[in-house]
């Protein structure tokens, strides 16, 4: 263990921890834009600058040493912090109202912390580069006028998924988050899992047609056999979002494109909402009683005529375990073991 002092608060942390880790431990806020606990540290935003033993360091990278004296609000650090945030704002889209991340944006948070004044901003030259919003992906957009080049999306795509559809491209003022050939996202190797969007600190990667859910329900994804833990976001009588469950041991918060975005079938107008009975070759609406009476009577007739083995039941790998259990109970109770599902498909 290493003991250090952060703004006179004594804190002991494990060797190899960073100043940022130590500050978090004692609940001391250090502003940052490019740091993400699940990803390798980058150190590019320079906003977490603090003074450690009289020298300016980035808290996210600097390892703690015994007896280290850290001053978060040292003047030198503050000057860099403020300048960086001001500079980033000169290149950032000013229209926050239409931004999905408004009031949930790290850049706003940090700007608020360092204290941005209109007088200062007026001295600086604004230069938002006109870049077309990449709307090619059906689920989320890339708006590079809101990108602060923190690289979180790039690291997410490489470290979390290994898809690595994104990288920094070009250099200097032209530096940008790019795909191969600077193509639109939908034409790249991106697998649309949306992990980058989940982690983007600003509105640069933002969900399309976002609707904030009223409540969330913990459940399990209904697609493949991996069984990812999810939070279903509900608004009224619709599912409007799916979020990975970070505490689930299977997916640890991760989701794929189907899991995260493929929920629309639940709300779809083509859903079957009443029983249907075939009359004169046409399926027509019927009441539950009509339908079930018909099924029961036809089953009975056929069993009576041809024995229970003239009946077969196909259960479903898509339904719950309980549904399957009840289904097998019914079919077997009717006297047949002609029972299967699509395990082999």
């Amino acid at each position: 263990m290493v003991t250090l002092y952060i703004d006179d608060i004594q804190v002991s942390v494990e060797k190899g921890s960073t100043i940022f880790d130590a500050a978090q431990k004692v609940g001391v806020y250090i502003p940052t834009l490019c740091h993400h606990p699940e990803l390798h540290t980058f150190g590019g935003c320079r906003v977490c600058m603090v003074e450690a033993n009289g020298k300016l360091v980035t808290a996210c990278r600097a390892p703690v040493t015994d007896g280290m004296v850290v001053r978060i609000d040292a003047e030198g650090a503050r000057k860099v912090q403020r300048m960086v945030v001001e500079l980033l704002l000169t290149k950032h889209n000013e229209d926050c109202q239409t931004c999905v991340k408004d009031s949930n944006c790290k850049l706003q948070e940090v700007a608020n912390y360092v204290g941005i004044t209109p007088e200062r901003m007026a001295m600086l030259r604004r230069s938002v580069t006109e870049v077309e919003i990449d709307e090619s992906n059906p689920f989320f957009n890339i708006d590079r006028t809101r990108c602060i080049l923190c690289g979180i999306c790039i690291r997410t795509c490489e470290e979390i998924n290994g898809v690595t559809a994104l990288d920094f491209g070009f250099r200097g003022e032209h530096t940008a988050v790019v795909t191969m050939g600077n193509k639109k996202l939908a034409e790249s190797t991106c697998e649309s899992c949306g992990e980058c969007m989940e982690r983007c600190p600003t509105g640069a990667l933002a969900r399309k047609n976002y609707e904030r859910p009223n409540r969330e329900v913990k459940s399990v994804c209904g697609y493949c056999g991996v069984g990812c833990g999810i939070h279903l976001g509900v608004r009224g009588d619709r599912v409007v979002s799916v979020r990975g469950d970070k505490d689930n041991p299977v997916n640890k918060g991760q989701l794929c494109v189907k899991g995260r975005f493929g929920y629309n079938f639940v709300n779809h107008p083509d859903r079957l909402t009443t029983p249907l009975i075939k009359r004169d070759g046409e399926l027509v609406e019927a009441s539950w009683d009509e339908a079930l009476d018909l099924v029961a009577s036809r089953f009975k007739e056929i069993i009576d005529e041809s024995g229970p083995n003239a009946l077969g039941g196909i259960s479903s790998a898509r339904c719950t375990t309980e549904d399957n259990y009840v289904f097998t109970r019914l079919i077997r109770s009717l006297g047949t073991n002609n029972l299967d599902h699509c395990a082999r498909l």
Partner: protein
């Protein structure tokens, strides 16, 4: 397959397929095509088992690589410090005016491209202009036309 494509495929036979060979392979590729095409970069990514995005990230980082077809004659105006203090900026403007294109662009007929370079190491004869391998020293704005005409016939 086109002759260039055959040559391009041959490049791989000279390498093992390790990441550190990326920049040399990109250089060899550009030597064949004159610039880096998307399919070529994708093929390189697959050969080296490097993500495509990173091949592009690396390529765009270095000034040596181009991503569009170049002009037959590349006019390179040196904007090194020595050339700058000797008026290379105005020289560049003169080329832009004369050629009707901006720096970094290519004429419609692909006969010329206009680029800037940071020092060709001939500071003593600044300002310097290179056309292909040929070096022109002490170039004044009024000589721009003459330089261009020298090559116009060769296209």
């Amino acid at each position: 397959m086109k002759k260039e494509d055959v040559k391009f495929q041959e490049i791989f036979s000279r390498y093992k397929g390790d990441r550190e060979e990326l920049i040399p392979i990109l250089q060899d590729t550009q030597a064949i095509y004159g610039y880096l095409t998307d399919p070529a970069m994708c093929a390189i990514a697959r050969f080296l088992r490097v993500p495509q995005s990173q091949v592009y990230g690396v390529s765009t980082f270095f000034a040596q690589f181009y991503f569009t077809r170049r002009g037959k004659h590349a006019i390179k105006v040196c904007l090194g410090t020595a050339c700058h203090v000797k008026g290379a900026g105005r020289l560049m403007e003169a080329f832009e005016r004369e050629m009707g294109i901006g720096c970094g662009c290519i004429t419609d007929d692909y006969s010329f491209s206009l680029e800037r370079v940071n020092c060709v190491g001939a500071c003593a004869i600044a300002p310097v202009v290179m056309v292909g391998e040929d070096v022109y020293g002490h170039v004044e704005s009024k000589r721009v036309k003459e330089v261009l005409e020298t090559y116009a016939d060769k296209t």
